[in-house]
Symmetry: none
């Protein structure tokens, strides 16, 4: 197998990289992912196609990095953002707060188009799906695992519950509603999810 020689990262044009990120995100937002083309990104970024192919393997790769970068930018802009779920002692309140923030983010049009596109591509493209999950999804989910573990310590959650599964009770429904547009998402909705998940559907 002939591996093409890796390009020299130290010579890379930062300006072009930023322009490519911006163009990719803009195009996905404006014309949608399927109509976003490498050629279009290059033209919009004022860049040669080869500059894209030199550093990325596909438009999906570009978009993933652009999206990760967007997340970092937003994080920095928001000041030192916690990267942890608050722990006020009131689990229900903490989860509801975080999920409300998540809802707001999901409804932000700047995030929506690329996030949806990446999720879709990840379903069908194994390699990208793997990256999407490990780089974006898992770190988020881990925060819930941590908070639930803490709740188990204080007795707010049953000690035998598997936190990795438990978090799915409120996270997955939200994700699915948003991705598949089966129904609108709202703060009331996520509040309800938390209540159902914590206290069960069966009468107490």
């Amino acid at each position: 197998m002939v591996k093409k020689p890796a390009p020299d990262t130290t010579r890379r044009s930062e300006k072009s990289r930023r322009a490519i990120y911006a163009a990719a995100l803009a195009l996905v937002g404006e014309v949608g992912y399927p109509k976003t083309t490498v050629e279009g990104i290059a033209a919009r970024a004022g860049v040669g196609k080869q500059t894209i192919y030199r550093w990325w393997g596909s438009k999906a790769d570009v978009l993933l990095e652009a999206f990760l970068d967007l997340g970092e930018q937003a994080a920095q802009a928001a000041g030192q953002e916690p990267y942890a779920i608050p722990d006020t002692g009131d689990l229900a309140a903490d989860l509801k707060a975080v999920l409300r923030a998540t809802v707001d983010e999901l409804l932000d049009p700047r995030f929506e188009a690329p996030a949806r596109a990446l999720a879709a591509e990840g379903l069908v493209n194994d390699q990208l799906g793997r990256e999407f999950v490990t780089k974006l999804l898992e770190p988020q989910l881990q925060l819930y695992v941590d908070r639930l573990r803490s709740a188990q310590d204080t007795g707010a959650v049953r000690p035998d519950a598997d936190p990795r599964i438990a978090l799915e009770l409120f996270v997955s429904p939200l994700t699915q509603r948003w991705l598949q547009r089966t129904a609108p998402v709202s703060h009331a909705y996520t509040d309800t999810l938390v209540d159902y998940a914590l206290y069960g559907l069966a009468p107490r």
Copy 2:
């Protein structure tokens, strides 16, 4: 606006339709959705491209119909299938049974590739997403709504719980694990989901 005259359905070639379904499903399984092309389907089905464009609007449409047809075929083959969730009086048992069957289906390679492809396309293509949800997803979910309503009548589920949200506690996690491959799905997993959803994460 000139609407193209609807073709004469009575003259439609049943043989071609079936060949197109078969070719579409086979190709999606073999080379994946993105590499499946209308041209490829036509060639494999021994059919002119126009025959596809005459009856469907895109490869996604073809695949959706092919998949619906596949479902019907499977249903008929399986004899009278319930199209309802059993109601033995034991809600937990009934849900676990249905979800176990669902897991088995999701792991069937014949279903996996096209289902995943359609889900992915639906995320990014509004019109198809809508159809996917209404024709495939909603009917399934409605069965859970019905069963949960019945459970509310018998007092097994709190009367104030919204069944449409309640079902998401166990259905969405399964869907997401399967679609995004965040973790493997199994009978044990869905059993756990049902328990958590019914009895809550908080200690009783």
Copy 3:
């Protein structure tokens, strides 16, 4: 070896073919052969690139056919063209007349650019060179062979002279001057060539 299936000639678009010929000749004339691109020809002809690649293997092939067609058009337009060198009995006069006509043609800008381009490409591209020679050059030269043979019958040319070589004495110098622009060509020049060739450089 996988030979791609020959396209169906009967379905070929005559209009596109003509448009491609016209575009190719125009572009070679306007921007020169090296800057003439398949893409440019397609755009100018209002044709998809594939339509060119379906019927020709390269821009050189296109130009060769376009040029042959141009010759046929011109021939038809000129009414019954001779396709033979006149035979008035006066060999010198006949050759001078034909060569003067050739000079006029070589100086016609409509012929010059494509002819020069094809000659150049033929030097470096064996396959095209072969075609250029057999389809364009040889038929022309054969006319001289015929006329010289006739001259040998009447005693105007030595019977032991090889006509195929003899004709080169006046044809090749003209060709080379024109192609390589070593010196201008004119009626006087070709007249001189005929005289030198017939009567020799040595004193009589």
Copy 4:
């Protein structure tokens, strides 16, 4: 207009220049002129592309210089070569001898590829054509002019013949046969050319 400052010739790397010549000639011989690229020459010569663009304007320029250099090398290697046509008093014999040597050179594969490539490029590229003719062709032809002038002094050639045209009678046919491959070249062929040119085609 800003003319780029001429680089400092005294600092030029002789080693690189030689390597570039060698690479250019080798590549033209191996893959042909059209597939010979500046990038390829640079890589093969172990040289940066800029080093080529600093000293030459195009691959044609490089090849022309490389070819001229090759000629000088060959000349030096062959010992002090005459750079004049021998003058034994027998014009026919002298011309035949020189033309036989020329035939040998034309058939030498080391000369063939680059010479043909340069001739072809010259047909289509005015500037290079001009250089090719003045630097390579004309000096050669001038030798014939000189020898024919001398022959006119001794009465072996008619005094009113224009030597510049006369030489074309035997030189151009040879050139054309070789370049356009209309027919093979050989010693017998050039001998015949000389005879025909000197004594004419008409019976004496």
